[in-house]
Amino acid sequence: MARSVTTQRKTLNTLIAWGIGLLIFFPILWTILTSFKTEAQAIADPPVWFFFDWTLENYRVVQERSNYSRFLWNSVIIAGGSTILGMMVAIPAAWSMAFVPSRRTKDILLWMLSTKMLPAVGVLYPIYLIFIKLGLLDSRFGLTIVLMLINLPIMIWMLYTYFKEIPGEILEAARMDGAGLRQEILYVLTPMAIPGIASTMLLNIILAWNEAFWTLNLTAARAAPLTAFIASYSSPEGLFYAKLSAASTMAIAPILIIGWFSQKQLVRGLTFGAVK
């Protein structure tokens, strides 16, 4: 039975919650609004809210002056590439631990988790040095590999918790019917695993897109993704609010949209399955 609630109480809840929600969201809303203003309107005091001459000028200028699309492309390649490469390694690993567990499975899982806890700054110079020696500094390939490695434990864990939920009886039934390992994976497991695989990929794209230690320290002009592009606005250029806003809006919009679709999976992925 649902709790009975008075309309009055519900109205009050609604007002408070919307108020707080809008307050938390406000910096993002303000950034989006400012991106459509002129520079003069962007710093106006008192601030202008909705009634100004909406313009797309800033977006055009940002693209022309700093070749925004190249940074965007780098972000897409690095986030997408590290996700796809990571899944190629993570799916078999998670599959084997979920369906053919051994005595060491738990230790291996926990050890994998522990590699995620390694502070990046502790291995900054070695990675930097290896990158120089291998000619990977400021290359999309090098960054893709690093981001794949730092997110691999999360991918494996998340897939593992999803795979664990597939009932073992189904597998046994398939084996009884004479299905081989290949058929078992292809026709029984894959269809059931697709939702878990999709949400793992989404979470990983979010994490890789927003990663801002390695992307800042291992790239310069060629391979810099959007995180580094935005960081270049920490110069006085960032005082052109409308341009900064346009650049920021373009950098966060794709992930805001993906993120909203994967809120639930976020919890499972980031708590390593401890909260579902």
């Binding site: 950034t31 390694l118 070695p126």
Partner: protein, 288 residues
């Protein structure tokens, strides 16, 4: 029952992940460990001999060390306090019946998806700028002198920015935990005449204990490593140089790799202490 063939196949499927992670962990960490015992200045003569634990003692006795530990504790502690307390309140609020619950949840979660460089710069320039920032407009509107946030209240500013980023994470996880609470239990308590406060204290809070612990541990591990938010705002000045940022400066800016590596080993040890607690909790969960 797994057959012998499927066992060896399973091992083969696990191997790439294990080898990659093993390499990713062992190779750079070993290098850091080796550098930490060397006098190693890449731009000023390179390798200049083995010096034992001198880097380790120099790192902790340098004048920058304790302030950086202090800054780290302030930021981690401050952000944890704010995000966990507000997160509990927000989670309870969002669990109440209301109109447009889904949309409010989206609004609250959104900051988590903003990349750190964007949130750092948007707050720094568009809100905290002493001349044109929105907060200074607000201060002037009330006839007050605007605060020069990132220099006069640098620590509070960084804590505010980072809390804004992490509040959604705490809220989302605590909300998920609250929603798993049996509503009949609350109803029963309500009928027994338990006040809202005692319901919170005796039913909701104990139920959330595990989720709160997880939020604290995971956030601590991430907060110890925050970098970009400081990189684009104060660059570590005005007392906001954390341990992570100090090591970064030693290694890449002043290129004293030996000294920075010793600092890196300290950071690894520190992170591992928290990681051990987290893994114990997560590990228990695996058995169920």
């Amino acid at each position: 029952m797994a057959t012998k063939a499927s066992r060896s196949a399973a091992r083969l499927m696990l191997a790439p992940a294990v080898i990659l992670l093993l390499g990713w962990m062992l190779v750079p960490l070993t290098m850091t460990l080796i550098f930490s015992f060397q006098r190693y200045l890449p731009l000023r003569g390179g390798f200049q001999g083995w010096i034992g634990f001198e880097n380790y003692t120099r790192f902790v006795t340098s004048s920058a060390f304790w302030p950086s530990v202090q800054a780290t504790l302030f930021i981690v502690g401050g952000v944890l306090l704010i995000t966990v307390m507000l997160g509990i309140l927000l989670a309870i609020l969002l669990d109440q019946p209301m109109w447009g619950q889904g949309i409010v949840r989206i609004l609250v979660i959104a900051p988590f998806f903003v990349m750190p460089t964007v949130s750092g710069l948007v707050w720094k320039n568009m809100f905290m700028d002493p001349n044109n920032g929105l907060l200074s407009h607000l201060w002037r509107f009330f006839g007050a002198d605007p605060i020069i946030w990132l220099s006069d209240a640098s620590m509070a500013s960084i804590i505010l920015i980072v809390s804004w980023q992490w509040l959604p994470f705490a809220t989302l996880i605590l909300l998920t935990a609250i929603q798993s609470l049996d509503s009949e239990q609350i109803e029963a308590a309500e009928m027994d005449g338990a006040s809202a406060l005692s319901r919170f204290w005796h039913i909701i809070l104990p139920h959330l204990a595990r989720a709160i612990t997880i939020v604290i541990l995971i956030q601590t591990i991430f907060l110890l490593a925050i970098f970009a938010e400081i990189f684009v705002t104060t660059q570590g000045s005005f007392g906001t140089r954390t341990l992570t940022y100090l090591i970064y400066q030693r290694v890449l800016e002043s290129q004293n790799v030996g000294l920075g590596s010793a600092g890196g080993i300290y950071a690894v040890i520190l992170a591992n202490i928290f990681a051990l607690f987290l893994m114990r909790i997560v590990g228990k969960n695996l058995d169920r």
